[in-house]
Every structure is written in C-alpha cells, then in structure tokens.
Amino acid sequence: MMHNDRREFIRKAGIGMLAGMGAASGILTGGGFERTTSAAWAAVPGEHGRRWGMLIDTRRCREGCTLCIESCHHTHNVPAVKSPDETVEWMHKEDGRELLGSLCSSTAALPALCNHCVEPSCARACPTDSIFRRTDGIVAIDYHRCVGCRSCMQSCPYGEVSFNWSDPRASLKNPSLDYPTRQRGVVEKCNFCSDRLVRGKKPSCVEACPEGAISFGNLNDPSSEIRKLLESSETLQRKPELGTRPSVFYII
C-alpha cells in the first residue's frame, strides 16, 4: 500500500537522482581518456620480427618548434612548394583535436606523420603495388612503380600522402646528397627513415627533437624502450576505430 504525498515523492526522486549521478560518475571516471589497449602493439599473428613504431610525448613538444619537421624535410629532400594547394609534407603539425579527436585535451599543434599502419588502406588502394608494407612494418613507397593515380591519397584516412604536382627539384634549394629526390607525378610520404635505419641511425625527427619527445623502437620487442613507455603511459592513436592499427602513438 503505497501512499506518498507530493513532498515525499520529490524528496525520494531527488535522492534517487543523486545516487544515479554518483554511480554514473563512478563508471565514467577518467573523462574520455581511453588507454590504448595492448592489442595495438601486439604482434600480428604469423608475423614475427621487427615492427617499427613511434611514440610522441606531446607534453614535451615545444609550442612553435618545428625542428623535427625541418630536419625530416631536409634529410629527404621534401620540396618546400609555395602554393598551398600543392604542398608536399612528410611531417607537419596539426591541432591536437583535429589530430586525435575529442579525446585529446590539447589544442596545441602536435606533430603528425604517416602512421605506418598494420592494415594500411593506402596499400590496399594502390593499383600498382607501389605502396606496400615491408616485413619490418614500414609502409614504403617504390617511386619507380608509382603511376601518380593518387588512390592512396584518397584512401589514407590521415591525409599523410602528398603528390608532386610540379617538379620537386625546382623547390629544393639545398638538397641533401644522401637521399634521392622525387619527380613530378609521383606521391610521397614519411618512410620512417628506412634509409637511416639501414645505416644504424635513428630517424631524423627523433634525433632533431631537442626535448627528446619522440621515441622510436621495435614494438614487437617487449624489452624495447618504446614498449616500456607504452605499457606505463596513457597513449592515444589516430582514429583507432578504423582498424588500421597505427604504429604511431601519442602521450597527451
């Protein structure tokens, strides 16, 4: 036999609502921060050996500093094309929210580069097999095969592939002699410094960063520095929901 007057009803409803809010705050702790699951760097079944990966600690990334980008672009003869709709970039800085979505609390400009995905959609789209995934996890381009169809640019969800609309040599003032240039009509993107790795060097952005914000290493090696950092930190990936499994991670 329930008999509540109006005052009693409002009081009980209020208590119920408070309890509900309390429970919800318990469930939804940590804001939107979702730690990258270890599946993101777990070895691909049937695939052993190296998988190169990068971790960018954006807390140490200086505002307005572009040393990593300058070093990368000089090392790989990336042309500084003036026209904004013909820009060629291997690395650039982008607003944190744009880059990592609403989970990212930072609106500072963060470094962005090719994610060297385990499931690269650019490689799926390439009709000539010019973009492919190497055995060490690097998504590389064979510029000899590229026909300039730009399918990879359309399919890359991160927009990290650039096209040479004009002769890149015209925009190179001081080319690095250790690395080739490209020619008009081919695409290009970050190669995770595969040219430097083969000589036992770290990627140029890693070496250029004065704050040591960029770590690089083998994601398949549990004792590597990058794996230890991944296991001990909250990290984000770009658009993990797409299932491309990026190899570039961010600490916010």
């Binding site: 190296r50 590389a140 000899h144 060097k201």
Partner: protein, 126 residues
C-alpha cells in the same frame, strides 16, 4: 680522519665515473637498427668488370625492381659470398669518385637513362 675523507671522495669519484660510462654505453646500445643489412662494400665490384661493361643495366634494372619491396632484405649476394646493399649509392660510393664515369659512356652511346630524374647525379654534387 682527513685521509679517510680523501679516500671516501676518491671512491665516490670512481663510482661517478663508472656510472657515467655505464649510462653512455646504455645510450649507445639503444641505437635501433644495428645494421643487420649489408654494409656498403666498395672494395670490389659486384660482378667482374667485363660483365658489368655489357650488363650493368640488367643488374641495375633488377635492383631497381626488387630493392624497395625487399626492404631490409634488399641485399645482393655474389657467387663468392660478398654482400652488397641494393642501392645506387652502393655503386656511386666507388664510381662517384669520377664524376663523368656514367656520362662519358652514355653520351657516346647516345642513351639517356632516367636514373637522374630522382637520384642526385654526381655532376650535381659539389
């Protein structure tokens, strides 16, 4: 007492030196790729001179087609077991010393290979 102090300071200094050197060693062993691929060996050519004079284009064509896809395994092994990185710079590490090595012959034979569209030609190096 004083002697004891000096001894302790000496021990501390030794400990510091050991610690610093061990950190250094750690930093060096961190280097990623400990180049398991072949080093650029320019002491002798991939094939005998006579073969290369007539067939260098086939060798380079093969390297061009296979090197990128083989990635870290793009290593050319000769019959006598020497290993070379499949890269035009492997050739130029030796032949680049004569800036006209490629061009004098290609001009004579009237051929214009497109290598230098992208690779930086020895003629463009200072």
């Amino acid at each position: 007492m004083r002697k004891k102090n000096i001894l302790i300071i000496g021990l501390l200094a030794a400990l510091l030196v050991v610690l610093v050197s061990s950190f250094r060693a750690g930093a060096e062993s961190e280097s990623p790729a400990e180049a398991d691929a072949a080093r650029v060996d320019s002491s002798a050519c991939v094939y005998p001179k006579e073969y290369m004079q007539t067939h260098h284009m086939q060798v380079l064509e093969d390297w061009k087609n296979t090197a990128a896809h083989e990635g870290p395994d793009a290593v050319h092994e000769t019959a006598d077991g020497r290993k070379f990185q499949k890269n035009l710079s492997t050739c130029l590490a030796c032949h680049g010393s004569n800036r006209y090595f490629c061009f004098s012959c290609h001009a004579y034979a009237n051929v214009t290979p497109n290598c230098w569209n992208c690779h930086i030609s020895p003629l463009d190096t200072p």
